[in-house]
Amino acid sequence: MTENELQRHILALTSLASTLLEPERTFKRNEIDLFKIQLYGMVLEDLRMNLAKITPMDITEIDRAIGASLQATQNQAIALQTFDVGISVLKTVLVASL
């Protein structure tokens, strides 16, 4: 039963119970308590459902992306080192030849 349904049952039974004689009055009052107990059990449900909407990315996927980036950075560093050497030589040669 939903929270609203439980609240409605409680309201209906409360007005009914006051018109009854024993033993029915006791049984109805206890039914009210049963619904109230169920309501208390649902007190964190909304919060849980809201938080369930948070869906962070898979951590292993992020780790994989980090690993790939680090590897790519290393590869580029090696390539750029070679490029730097080439540029320096070219600069020296061109300046000398001016």
């Binding site: 033993p23 059990g41 007190v43 964190l44 061109l94």
Partner: protein, 196 residues
């Protein structure tokens, strides 16, 4: 020939000059600070959430026990009145109904306590997941910083990440928010300490 060499020299200097702009490097380092502030704020907020959820759980458990006891007390009281019934079958039927309802009360209370405990556990797990996720985001930024701080990252990163060529104004705007977030986090932390 000289013009050609001059052109080549100019080209070499242009290529050599394609280093990461200083503002981008500053921004990438600042991003790590922003993420740290964000992580701290979310941690405080999550702790607050767990604290409130825990208090709600305790209060609800107390209320459940109260209602359960009241119901059982009423049934005990009703049981004592069965001796007044002269009709044996009527007495038996009433006793059975009393026992059935007592069983149901205990069963429903146990199930409701379990639901409350499971919901609380799920809330804790989700907040922990969020913490782990934020830590990972910081790790991603550290890796990006490593690249951005290097010499030849290029100006393309500047325009693609912030949409314009200068980040001075952008950096200034972000910096105005940092003290506000820190103040709000501090106030929340103080409030939680008082409540405890």
């Amino acid at each position: 020939m000289t013009y050609y060499k001059l052109f080549l020299l100019a080209l070499v200097f242009v290529i050599s000059g394609c280093a990461t702009p200083l503002e981008v490097k500053q921004l990438s380092l600042k991003q790590l600070d922003y993420l740290t502030v964000l992580t701290d704020a979310v941690t405080i907020q999550s702790e607050g959430l767990i604290l409130i959820a825990e208090k709600l759980k305790q209060q609800s458990e107390g209320n459940m026990s109260c209602h359960q006891q009241n119901s059982i007390d009423r049934l005990n009281q009703l049981m004592t009145t069965t001796v007044d019934l002269t009709d044996m079958s009527e007495r038996r039927a009433l006793k059975q109904k009393i026992l059935a309802q007592a069983t149901e009360i205990n069963k429903v209370t146990a199930a409701s306590r379990q639901k409350l405990a499971l919901d609380f556990k799920a809330i804790k797990i989700k907040t922990q997941q969020l913490q782990v996720y934020l830590k990972k985001i910081k790790e991603v930024q550290v890796v990006l910083n490593g690249y951005i701080q290097s010499q030849k990252a290029g100006e393309q990163l500047l325009s693609s990440s912030v949409g314009h060529t200068s980040v001075d104004g952008f950096l200034g705007t972000i910096n105005t928010y940092i003290p506000l977030i820190k103040l709000a986090s501090g106030e929340l932390a103080h409030l939680l300490q008082v409540k405890q």
